[in-house]
Amino acid sequence: MLIEINDLKKTFSNGTKALRRVNFSVNQGDFVVVLGASGSGKTTLLRSINGLVECESGEIKFRNNIISSSTLPSLRKETGMVFQDFNLVNNLSAINNVLTGLLDSSNNFTSMLYLFTKEQKKQALSCLEMVGLLDKAYSRVDQLSGGQKQRVGIARAIIKNPALLLADEPVASLDPMISNSIMSLLWSIRRQIGLTVICNLHQVDLALKYSDRIIGLSGGRVVLDAPSADVSEEYIRKIYDGHSSGLFFNNI
């Protein structure tokens, strides 16, 4: 059990109940998709796992240790994150963006001068190769397309060899064709480097195609938690019909 979430609750200061007693656990090596419409609480859930959001009650265990302010740094060392809007430094080259993933283990002084060891640079290039962007290593990120930017984002997230990858709507800003290729990339990287992935999505078709397990959220509650092989689009539609939610049911 890599991650265990018990009775997680979060109410924002404006009164929005983002999470109401959320329970689930994630096994090592699982590719879990958290499915839900915007406002269902999935971003809050993901952010609470690496401590970007503090929850009022409940606990999250990582490798059987309860996450607290003292255990958070070690968790973050083992976590990579991929963002909806990529969150890259636009004026930097792809390789320098990927190298930022190694800053926590780099020399403070030399890294301020953008200097990295040859090994680190080769590591960054290998990650870029893994996401199919080796040839764009020295292009400025703002010259890349959306799909390529997200590939850089993924390379940055995996360079420190994390145990857990958190992906918050990684394809929400991309068109369907590119979305599919990014999800398939995450899927194959998971295999290659033995990663555990928790990925937020709102597209049912992608969730069914790229996941071992689907956790459905609606209004801050878990309404579905099942192996992807056991659920169908109709089944998910039925579940969500009972809840106020606007999932996307379009096929690519």
Partner: protein, 519 residues
């Protein structure tokens, strides 16, 4: 089980995927007859008709060794990652690295010049597993928005079974364009099958890691080791060949991959940055030499004089505090009036000197000239001229400050307006808003924060400048400063400096506060 089969059969089969139809450019015979003689097991070679056949032979265990083209294609087929292991990559003769490229070729006379142009053209494509004939081209095409899997992207798609067929299809004008392997293209030119003049390359992919030889993962480890060592060592005993005809040698895939990655290493600081830093240091060194800047001299002597001057200035003399405060007030008032004048003048001038707002080029040029002209004349000089023209007092100071900083503000506004997001402007225009309505609703709200920020900065700056204007007779505390200096009343000088400092400090606090509220 298969291990046992292999041993009992005592023969190995090599499955070769198609990349070429000339035996010479895909020649594994010599290599494997050498391996056969070294390890004492019979080896047969099968040239497969497509990639699928080669993969099937390997996955069924019928073949134990294979050549499947570039690894990116094999990575696509997930099963293969555990099915086979790469063990050797050929380095073409005359090259140090086992890399090649996918090149899009067209007939020399073709009017296709860019990758984008091949939409709706006739294209020849390789097998879906072919690295340089399909997988890499698919990636290159998707970058220009062409979906290789969509039939409608092209006029027609001719499926070819190898690169030579694709090259010939282009030369014979059966198709307009084809992505092919640089290895096959080079070989066909070398062998005079085609000429450099027959075709042109409109696009080429980045380096593709060389296509490796693979064997079944589950093959007996000792046998695997023997095969690998023999192949990697073969170039010391025979002329090795493989994909691309004669080869220099076979490399361990690990070494090959390392070299592939290393071929992409570049220094973090390019020569341009280094050149800029050296240039910067050089220029400032020359300036320092020219100005005879000597820090040791400054520290040795000058500080003694400074000490003397400071001693004479202390303690400050606040005896005429009331007069001081009045002239300080006058200074602030001059600055405020000057700033108001600058703002009022700079709004029209700024609008007209913004390229996207100016009604026409002559007006833009006039407005631009005005801003440059008044920025170029220091207010100090302007005030001196105005004092002669209209006499002593606050007026010359106000006009000098107003005109000079108008130049600055107009420039700031013009720049802010030029960098305004034009999308909302288009939206308003499309719904019939007039030019001035567009400015009022889509431009002004966007520049308000920088408008207020810049005005506050100019006010702040004008108060500092106004303290000096009295020196040339344009009113304010500068006059007091000047006369105190003239009469060697250094304690009064220090008192005036303290008053100026406190005033500017307070004004700065107030403007920061306003800025934090509105910007």
């Amino acid at each position: 089980m298969k291990d046992i089969e292999n041993k009992t059969k005592n023969s190995l089969l090599v499955a070769i995927a198609p990349a070429s139809d000339s035996a010479e450019s895909l020649d594994f015979e010599k290599l494997f007859s050498y391996v056969e003689s070294e390890i004492g097991i019979e080896i047969k070679i099968k040239q497969c008709k497509d990639y699928k056949e080669a993969i099937e032979l390997l996955s069924s265990g019928m073949a134990q060794i294979g050549w499947l083209g570039g690894m990116s294609s094999t990575q696509e087929i997930e099963i293969q990652n555990s099915l086979v292991e790469e063990f050797a990559v050929g380095v073409p003769k005359g090259k140090n690295v086992p890399f090649y490229r996918s090149q899009f070729i067209v007939k020399a006379s073709s009017d296709i010049h860019y990758l984008e142009d091949i939409r709706n053209k006739k294209i020849a494509l390789g097998d879906n597993f072919s690295t340089s004939g399909y997988v890499v081209p698919s990636k290159e095409l998707s970058e220009v928005g062409i979906d290789i899997e969509n039939e409608n992207s092209f006029n027609s798609i001719k499926k070819v079974s190898n690169h030579d067929e694709a090259i010939n299809a282009v030369i014979n004008e059966e198709v307009d364009v084809a992505p092919v392997s640089s290895i096959n293209l080079d070989l066909m030119i070398e062998n005079n099958v085609i000429s450099q003049k027959d075709f042109k390359i409109i696009h080429q992919s980045p380096n593709i890691a060389g296509a490796p030889l693979v064997y079944l993962t589950e093959l007996d480890p000792i046998l695997k080791g023997e095969i690998k060592t023999t192949v990697l060592d073969a170039h010391n005993h025979i002329n090795v060949s493989g994909y691309g005809g004669l080869l220099d040698r076979y490399l361990d895939p690990i070494d090959s991959h390392r070299e592939y990655i290393e071929s992409h290493l570049r220094p973090q600081w390019g020569w341009r940055s280094i050149f800029a830093i050296i240039g910067f240091i050089l220029i400032y060194t020359l300036i320092a030499i020219d100005l005879e800047i000597d820090l040791s001299q400054l520290l040795k002597d000058s500080y003694l004089y400074m000490k003397d001057v400071l001693a004479r200035m202390l303690p400050p003399d606040f005896s005429n505090f009331k007069d001081l405060m009045f002239s300080m007030l006058e200074t602030v008032e001059i600055a405020m009036m000057g700033t108001l004048l600058a703002i009022l003048l700079s709004i029209p001038v700024g609008l007209f000197s913004a390229r996207n707002i100016a009604p026409n080029y002559p007006i833009y040029l006039v407005a631009k000239t005005i801003t440059v002209f008044f920025r170029a004349i220091p207010e100090f000089i302007m005030a001196m001229i105005l004092v002669i023209a209209i006499g002593f007092g606050a007026m010359p100071g106000i006009i000098a400050l107003g005109l000079h900083t108008m130049g600055f503000l107009a420039k700031f506004y013009a720049e802010a307006i030029e960098h305004v997001n034009e999308d909302p402007m288009q939206a308003l225009e499309s719904m019939g808003a007039s030019k001035w309505q567009v400015i009022a609703f889509a431009v002004v709200p966007q520049i308000i924060p920088s408008f207020i920020g810049n005005n506050l900065y100019i006010l702040d700056r004008n108060i500092r400048m106004a303290t000096m204007l009295g020196i040339v007779g344009a009113g304010g505390i500068g006059y007091e400063l000047q006369s105190a200096f003239r009469m060697f009343q250094y304690p009064r000088v220090s008192a005036i400096i303290i008053v100026i400092f406190i005033t500017i400090f307070v004004i700065d606090m107030i403007s920061s506060w306003i800025r934090s509220k509105v910007v």
